[in-house]
């Protein structure tokens, strides 16, 4: 499936921030035509060489939910380790060490804490790579050759019937884009 997109290249972080806000501004005045959430343009994605504070909000991205993955994994890791320590020391082969109780809970806390941290950290990184579809050796499809160096690229979908390339071009130009081009999307549709 090929879709037409318009790409605008920016060279300064504040210009791309301004452009995103302009693109996503609600259409029409407060009292006139019905507002369309997200503004008149559909932003497919933004490509950035480094993270600019506020860029994700300007592009309308929801906060990541990976924190939940991390928290749940950490709790499971710690609980699993605590269970394992108790099973090993009190059930499978209890050994009397210096007269201490077999289930010495306070002594089991440090390894359980470490296991929780380890599982939480590794899980959240694996989850990041999975949801972002990154893996070792993946061939990147770069939207612009300098996008990992010093260029920002905004990709707008041209699916809308109301999309007017000339207006979009003029708007992006006013926002300070250094290159604007229309192309057939070959960049990960449906990401």
């Amino acid at each position: 499936m090929s879709r037409r997109v318009m790409t605008a290249v920016f060279d300064r972080e504040e210009l791309v921030l301004g452009a995103l806000r302009a693109l996503r501004a609600p259409s029409g005045d407060a009292g006139s035509a019905p507002r369309r959430p997200g503004g008149p343009y559909t932003i497919r994605d933004v490509y950035a060489p480094y993270m600019v504070h506020g860029l994700e909000k300007a592009a309308g991205l929801a906060p990541s939910r990976l924190g939940w993955v991390c928290g749940v994994a950490g709790l499971l890791g710690a609980a699993g380790m605590l269970w394992f320590e108790t099973w090993v020391s009190a059930a499978d082969w209890p050994i009397n060490v210096g007269g201490k109780p077999f289930a010495s809970l306070p002594a089991f806390v440090p390894p359980a804490f470490e296991a929780g941290v380890l599982v939480a950290g590794l899980t959240v990184v694996v989850a990041l790579l999975a949801v972002s579809r990154l893996w070792p050796g993946r061939r990147p499809r770069l939207v612009h050759p300098r996008v990992t160096d010093d260029r920002f690229v905004v990709v707008i979908e041209e699916t809308d019937a109301a999309f007017d390339p000339e207006e979009a071009r003029r708007l992006l130009d006013a926002c300070g884009a250094v290159e604007i081009e229309e192309r057939v999307d070959e960049l990960g549709a449906g990401r």
Partner: protein, 530 residues
Amino acid sequence: MYDAALTPRGDRGASGSTWVPEPERPPESGEPRDETIRRPLIAGDKTPGQVTDDVARPMAGRPTALWWMAFFASGGVMTTGVVAVAYQIATGIGTWGLNKTVGWAFDITNFVFWVGIGHAGTLISAVLFLLRQRWRTSVNRSAEAMTLIAVLCAALFPLIHMGRPWLAFWVVPYPNPRGSLWVNFRSPLLWDVFAISTYFTLSAVFWYIGLVPDLATLRDRAADRARGLRKKLLGFFSLGWDGSLRTWNRYEKVYLLLAGLATPLVLSVHSIVSFDFATSILPGWHTTIFPPYFVAGAIFSGMAMVLTLMLIARKTMRLEDYITLRHVDAMTKLVLLTSSIVGLAYGTELFIAAWSDNPFEQFTFANRLFGPLGWGYWIMVACNVLIPQLFWFRRLRRNLPLVFAVSILINVGMWFERFVIIVASLERDFLPSSWASYRPTSIELATLAGTFGLFFTAFLVFCRVLPVIAMAEVKGVLSYGRRAGAAADSGVAPETAREPAEPDTVPFPTPETVPTAVAAGGSSFEEVQT
């Protein structure tokens, strides 16, 4: 609304924990003034493209003669260590100077010393990230590399101490044909296994995740620079990073989470190392102050080691614009703070011992101060508490040769701290007839030297093959394009400057003017809306 959202990254709560602009002072060399927002972290008014060039350039060419000299010197020292380790494993750890009374000495001292060195890397990469100290971006990559190498050096010592290192996997609880005979989860030495291995793993993951965008930057430069194996490796390890904002959004979250995990982790690691001593019942070791005391000492010694490495890297890799006097100044302040905490801990230890009314406790500390190893105690106090007080003075904080010398003295002092705690507490035990002293053998000295060789060799290799500066993070603190006319005034040579494509045709807007200009009447924006 725009103002709030357009402040530079990491600027939330600017009045609180972030860098507070210093009062009016004459500009110093290498630090241009900037009244518009705040003083820049990176000197030289770099563009993001220049950052890429500056960081990638030292990796592209051949190593300098200085690099080769340092590499061969540290490699030679490392080889000495390899020979010593091979000899003591073949012969047995009877090659050490231990005796019945002093059963723990050099090996565990070096272990604690190296683990402590590693802690500053995590402090810089995680704790200062959470505290929004944006100056960390210049030093975090190499400090994290230092952490990894230091933890590797540390792990070597318990491994050798096992005597039969090929059975090291016995420390892992796994179902085995001996019962299963499990490990003893009540032992602090086993806690160490979990703490150190978790610490190493997560530090490595944190470091690698931070590297991915930079590897992608190098990979995409690879078209004109890297070839062959290097190109393949960059392509493999950069994970197909394409700079998508969706990925960046999640990435920032994960980075924050990892920093949040690493912070309690680093505190737990040296706490657990201190449990090796504190959970025993030996006077001088059996104290509740040990966990915070060890953590503060670890960060203190690590910051000193970071300073040592940074001052070398700054000069040899020509990173003066990235590691400025301001970075050195901030690090010396942290050294001063942790030095004072360590000094407080020394005093508290003595006070509690005197107050305890326990003659064994009192004897141990009197012996530590005035016994056979008293000279080690006073070296420790001089290097760790007295000399760092020089950093109260701004002029001395910015005197680089002095800072370098002090950073080395601190590492000497912190090594002696561990040696004194361990050996001086053991050498005079409860039975005077069994009192003994300890002297390291040449094998032990060569092993310690060998880990220094390993440390510097690995660091030199790191400097050659990976970006020493976290490019994607430094670009975020450049405030590039936020200071009107900064690029035009920078005076950088045209061949190095990678100016924006059309600097003259693009009106240079300020944060206030961008949205208003677009939204103002007559612009295309209104026409689009209708």
